[in-house]
Amino acid sequence: MSDARTTTTVVTAGAVAAPRMATARVATAELERQRRRPDWGNLLVHLALAACVAVLAFPLYYAFVISTQAIDEVIQKPPRLLPSTHMVENYVEAWRRSGMARLLVNSAIVAIGVAVGKIAISMLSAFAIVYFRFRGAGLVFWSIFLTLMLPIPVRILPTYEVVGNLGWLNTYAGLTVPLMASATATFLFRQFYLTIPNELAEAAQLDGAGPLRFLWSFLLPLSWANIAALFVVLFIYGWNEYFWPLLITNTEEMRTVVIGLERLIPRSGTELPTWNLIMAGAMMALLPPVAVILFMQRWFVKGLIESEK
């Protein structure tokens, strides 16, 4: 790979400096020499990047180490930076004490519900905007656009009131539906539909396919890459949402894991701070979204960059 690049460099350098061949030849020779030398510069770059990776990984490593220690090891000085042998018992205890099974199920329902709901309603409205001509289309488009300017905090109290009037407090519907409208997902699908050649819709119409048939059999199969990318990004968003679930849930059974975790932290001075259990809980709360990023990183980067444009 680096060889191919060097070759291009040489060619370009030659072309630019054509009237002064001597200069070009010197430059070429210089580049050639650089290529053969053991590359100390590259090594330095690798070292610097490795240092960055290590610094970024340290908080997670530290949390993991603490989650494997007994409480007297946690509070000892100097701090012990190696894993200990109490991992299983800590995780079992943190799991039991926080009701982790229920918290994780709730988070999964919220994350998947928000992601699937957003994708579904965005696909439908983008389809309507691109493939139909109807009165009020402009109004629909602009009203979707305006939602960008109304994040949860600026409408929090009345939204809470609406959800209360619907009887949705402390329900999965209340946890997911108000988070579903998404301008970015609608715009992404709209952009994507606009890149699909007209001939496809014409051909479908000639074959007698109606609009819903076209959406289901033609557009949907073409959209999988976009759907996967959006799904990963929206899953992370839904899993990590804090403000909304905190407000509208009021029983242990409906809490999501990022909310439930906060309750492991002692707020009064009299409680024993079980930091090893808190860190075990933190590890369990962060593992699913981080695993999704690691295993679906190609989709994740695509979704991140394309949906935010």
Partner: protein, 293 residues
């Protein structure tokens, strides 16, 4: 360009219906209600709303605590944005040095983005723990300064800024890498031929060419710090010590849901709405220029 359209009178309305229902019920109606509440005095336990004009705003703007929360928000947003945008650019430039393993480094730098800011905050809470945390422990060798976030407001602020930046750095790196790869190789090669050094290449070529991405990321990070950071504050500091980390969103929640001061909370919502509209406008103004580079 003329697009093929399906002839159907009612189907498009049916298709946009779910999105419009959610948008109206949970976005426009509540936003309108916030505007309405901000100029009324509503008793928390029922009773008639009384029109009071701008009194809620006047009360806020003459409140020392509100200014503190505005200042805290800006310090927090500037800290998170500065740290994660500048850090993100430097690391992205390193990772873009045509070395092997770019995909590996990108993943290795991106994964903290999956960690909820609240969970990151809890991890940093222990790193900063005055009695057992590793950071105060090592700092105690170099200084006798008491590095205690429970007592010192700026330490608490540093804690939440670091925790938030930790989760957000990878996001910026991903965008900068995408932007750097869009810089034509010929430009960098021309600089090589001219004998430009690494620093000169960075300041004279990379920074100007990447500036649209930088600008975009500054706005997005500001929005994120202003509006998505309730979790880290609530889970870690609860706005304390004193009100040293009480950012605007946290104060809005506290006044509305704990203090049940609906009018003041609504007025704070309206002010935040103005902030987010300003930031979004800024972003779109610049997005138009982005096309030309």
């Amino acid at each position: 360009m003329k697009r093929t359209v399906f002839p159907n009178r009612w189907l498009p309305y049916l298709l946009v219906l779910p999105q419009m229902l959610v948008t109206i019920a949970f976005f426009f109606w509540p936003a309108g209600k916030s505007l309405y509440l901000s100029v009324f005095k509503s008793p928390p336990f029922g009773g008639r709303d009384v029109f009071i004009g701008l009194d809620n705003f006047v009360a806020l703007l003459t409140d020392r605590d509100y200014y503190d929360s505005v200042l805290n928000s800006f310090v927090f947003a500037a800290g998170v944005t500065g740290l994660s945008v500048v850090g993100g650019l430097l690391i992205a430039v390193l990772a873009n040095q045509k070395i092997r393993g770019l995909a590996f480094y990108r993943t290795a730098l991106l994964w903290p983005y999956g960690i909820a800011p609240a969970v990151a905050g809890i991890i940093f809470l222990f790193i900063f723990h005055p009695a057992y945390g590793i950071l105060p422990y090592f700092l105690s060798f170099v200084t006798t300064y008491e590095f205690n976030w429970l007592l010192k407001g700026w330490v608490a602020m540093a804690l939440v800024i670091l925790a938030t930046s930790w989760t957000h750095l990878g996001y910026n790196i991903a965008f900068f890498l995408a932007g750097l790869q869009a810089i034509p190789t010929s430009v960098m090669e021309a600089a090589n031929v001219d004998g430009a050094g690494a620093v000169r290449k960075f300041t004279a070529i990379i920074v100007p060419l990447i500036s649209p991405v930088t600008f975009y990321l500054v706005v997005v990070n500001m929005v994120f710090a202003f509006f998505n950071s309730f979790g880290v504050i609530h889970a870690v500091t609860h706005g304390g010590p004193g009100n040293a980390t009480e950012i605007m969103v946290f104060k809005l929640w506290k006044d509305g849901f704990v203090g049940l001061n609906l009018g003041s909370s609504a007025a704070q919502s309206v002010i935040l709405m103005a902030v987010v509209i300003g930031l979004t406008m800024l972003q779109f103004r610049f997005a138009e220029k982005k096309v030309t580079y």
